[in-house]
């Protein structure tokens, strides 16, 4: 830990002056043949990478309205500049969203606009050369695709879209990112990001069943590959093995148990996460998502419920219907897919669940909205349900709840610092600094209101915070899931039954 430079936590989130180049050194590990090949990418940087890259950009302009429009219309107003947690934490000007997007825009202008062809210096156009590519590889892997910049941009320019495009171009010329490509390759091979094989998964689930039986006296099941169950539950695979993720998994199981709804986990589709989104590839997103639709059909379930995972929920909510649909084989009375928070909240409202709030009395809770849930999805029928529903669950299960600074929650939430395919150790310096705005807001409510539980609904947030908060002197067990609170408070026993 001593090797990392952990910033002091300031009183308030501050916009720093620029310090060019502070993060120029921090590129992620490049991908290798073993991980690139299974994804259909060139094994190593191709010889004519400049031509190929420029051509790929051209073809993508014809495929993505977002890219075409965003590259054209930025007026360089700078409204987004101080909105990125990576800029706030690192002071590196290339981490200002507009500057990050400009790394690609410069190349777009040079090859695809009249102004950039004839007067590159005037409009800031640049050749696609090695220096530019190096900057791409560095700074497009310092964006967590959190979309905070898009909230404040007068045209909704979403730098996440630009980052995805740049990563897609780099993959196409054989310049991949090890962590993300390795994980996508693993999903295709084993079925989940962590590479957990079926017997290990079965073992874990059985162990959890025993554990719940021992602690509660109730025979709560975590079924695997059961055909004909009502619900296919798709959690992020971290829920099976990591702390504190696993506590939420037990929470989901108790909810199903108590509501008396049959469900199953699938060993083939044992992963909600979809790193296809991080590398920007539509085809990879689709391929990864397809496993889930296929399992839903094979197991003949009627509903799809997704566990606590931020980007997975974006892919499920916003993209599954496009990638996998139509979901005409599922029960049309329920949204397809449904978030576990929506699912639990519905049951609670129908009176199927009883919570004992006192079970969580040791906690004063605050909620961190995960970027992809907050700014790229919804829960329930109304806009903003993605904020209200998890909060309603927390309030139903806890007595003490506090909000952080309103500038740092809901659609203005700050990324945990580890999203977008950056949850890898070689980027730890970036992850620590990127967490600073969130840590600042959290520390304030810890000091003022005695907050000691940070409620999350994202596997990446959980992993990132358990690692990074301790470096800031905040105990690891501050971090937990919303369904961990549910798990603590839910009253098992006499079923009220609903259906």
């Amino acid at each position: 830990m001593a090797d990392y430079d952990v910033p002091e936590i300031p009183e308030d989130i501050e916009t720093p002056s620029l310090e060019p180049g502070t993060m120029g050194h921090l590129a992620p590990y490049p991908s290798v043949e073993k991980h690139m090949k299974p994804l259909g990418f060139p094994a190593a940087k191709v010889d004519n990478w400049q031509e190929e890259g420029i051509e790929k950009l051209g073809s993508m302009l014809e495929k993505y309205k977002s890219l075409q429009v965003f590259l054209d219309i930025c007026v360089k107003c700078g409204a987004c500049a101080d909105k990125c947690h990576y800029y706030l934490g690192t002071k590196d000007p290339n981490n200002m969203p507009v500057a990050r997007a400009d790394l690609l825009r410069q190349v777009y202008r040079r090859y695809y606009t009249a102004a950039g062809k004839f007067a590159p210096g005037l409009v800031g156009a640049k050749d696609f050369d090695q220096e530019t590519l190096d900057k791409w590889f560095t700074y497009y892997h310092q964006c967590s695709q959190c979309r905070r910049c898009s909230v404040f941009c007068p045209y909704g320019i979403d730098t996440a879209e630009i980052t995805m495009a740049a990563r897609e171009i780099m993959d196409a010329i054989g310049v991949g990112h090890k962590y993300t490509t390795e994980i996508v390759a693993k999903v295709h091979e084993v079925g989940n990001n962590l590479g957990i094989p079926k017997p290990a998964l079965k073992g874990t689930l059985e162990f959890l069943e025993e554990d719940i039986l021992e602690t509660t006296g109730h025979d709560v099941r975590l079924p695997l590959d059961v055909e004909g169950a009502d619900v296919l539950l798709v959690p992020p695979s971290a829920d099976f093995f990591s702390e504190p993720h696993i506590m939420s998994l037990m929470g989901y199981a108790k909810v199903f148990h108590q509501a008396g709804i049959s469900y199953t986990i699938s060993s083939v589709a044992s992963e909600a996460a979809n790193f296809g989104m991080f590398i920007g590839s539509f085809e990879q997103k689709q391929k990864i998502a397809k496993r889930i639709a296929e399992q839903a059909q094979d197991l003949k379930v009627k509903r799809l419920v997704v566990g606590e995972c931020g980007h997975a929920w974006r892919v499920a909510y916003s993209f599954w219907n496009t990638l996998n649909g139509p979901f005409d084989y599922l029960d049309p009375r329920y949204p397809a897919p449904q978030h576990i928070c929506e699912f639990t909240h519905d049951l609670y409202q129908q009176g199927a669940l009883t919570f004992d709030k006192e079970a969580n009395d040791e906690y004063t809770v605050t909620m961190h909205d995960s970027c992809n849930v907050a700014r790229a999805s919804r829960m329930g029928p109304n806009p903003g349900g993605q904020f209200e529903i998890p909060r309603a669950l927390i309030r139903a299960t806890c007595n003490k709840y506090v909000e952080m600074d309103p500038e740092t929650i809901r659609e203005k939430t700050f990324c945990c610092g580890g999203g977008g395919g950056l949850l890898t150790d070689e980027l730890m310096d970036l992850r620590i600094k990127g967490a600073l705005p969130r840590v600042t807001a959290l520390k304030r409510v810890m000091d003022q209101d005695g907050v000691n539980f940070l409620a999350l609904i994202c596997a990446i947030c959980k992993a990132q915070f358990t690692k990074v908060l301790p470096m800031y002197g905040i105990p690891m067990d501050t971090v937990g899931g919303v369904h961990q609170l549910v798990s603590n408070a839910i009253q098992l026993g006499a079923k009220k039954g609903i259906i």
Binding site: K63, K65, Q68, V69, I73, K76, L122, S150, Y317
Partner: protein, 238 residues
């Protein structure tokens, strides 16, 4: 000759602008990516776009100073443009006859707003870092247009009757010939040339934000992916 030039300028503007809009409208949107919370109905989306275009809602959230300067400039520009109708249309609709005083105030506000935007670009380190020469030049060009316009109003009045004649002639496809009798007339020619330059660069520059804002997927999409299946037009598998 001059007539030809004038039509060439207008041609470049309208065809160039139209072509960009065509490209934006035709580019496919593979996935639904509205920045949420987003409206769940088409009507709601129209409201969202309306608020963006008329109030600069997101910019207001993002940067108050930029909003003030920008709103001053754009609002004033809108008024000035409306007021300019008097130079093109004969007879003038009664409504516009009363716009004169607003027009002058708006001219001042426009140049003031532009001045603020320019200063801001110079002074704030973040904004300076992201600025290319073209970003300053557009502002200077607009300031130039504003200042020549104001100078004609306050200092050296060109012959309004002649100018109106020139402009109405231009739009009725008769020939264009510029008067050059006084300093005011020279100012007018400069003003007109700068506007011409603006029109020519418009389709090739960030000024396309005026059209592009309506095509931004994060703002113009309805948040209803579960209710209505969105199909990616280039999805091989469908």
């Amino acid at each position: 000759m001059l007539t030809l030039l004038a039509y060439a300028v207008l041609g470049i503007f309208f065809i160039g602008f139209g072509r960009r809009l065509w490209i934006y409208s035709q580019a496919p949107a593979p996935l639904l990516i509205p920045t949420t919370p987003a409206p769940v109905t088409r009507l709601g989306v129209m409201g969202r776009l309306f608020r963006e275009v008329v109030f600069f809602e997101s910019l207001f959230k993002g940067d108050k100073l930029a909003w003030i300067a920008s709103y001053l400039f754009h609002g004033a520009l809108a008024v000035v443009l409306i007021r300019h109708i008097r130079y093109f249309v004969d007879p003038l609709p009664a409504l516009f006859a009363h716009f004169q005083i607003f027009g002058i105030l708006a001219g001042l506000a426009m140049v003031g707003g532009l001045g603020l935007l320019f200063l801001r670009r110079l002074v704030i380190d973040r904004v300076r870092y992201i600025s290319s020469p073209s970003d300053y030049l557009v502002l200077l060009l607009l300031i130039g247009i504003g200042v020549t316009g104001l100078a004609m109003t306050f200092l050296f009045r060109p012959d309004i009757v002649t100018i109106k004649e020139v402009m109405t002639n231009l739009f009725s496809f008769s020939s264009l010939s510029l008067p050059l009798f006084s300093f005011g007339d020279a100012l007018f020619i400069l003003h007109l040339s700068l506007v011409g330059l603006l029109l020519v660069i418009f389709p090739f520059s960030k000024l396309m934000h005026m059209g592009g804002i309506f095509f931004s997927p994060t703002r113009n999409q309805v948040d209803n992916p579960r209710e209505v299946r969105h199909v990616n037009p280039w999805d091989g598998q469908k």
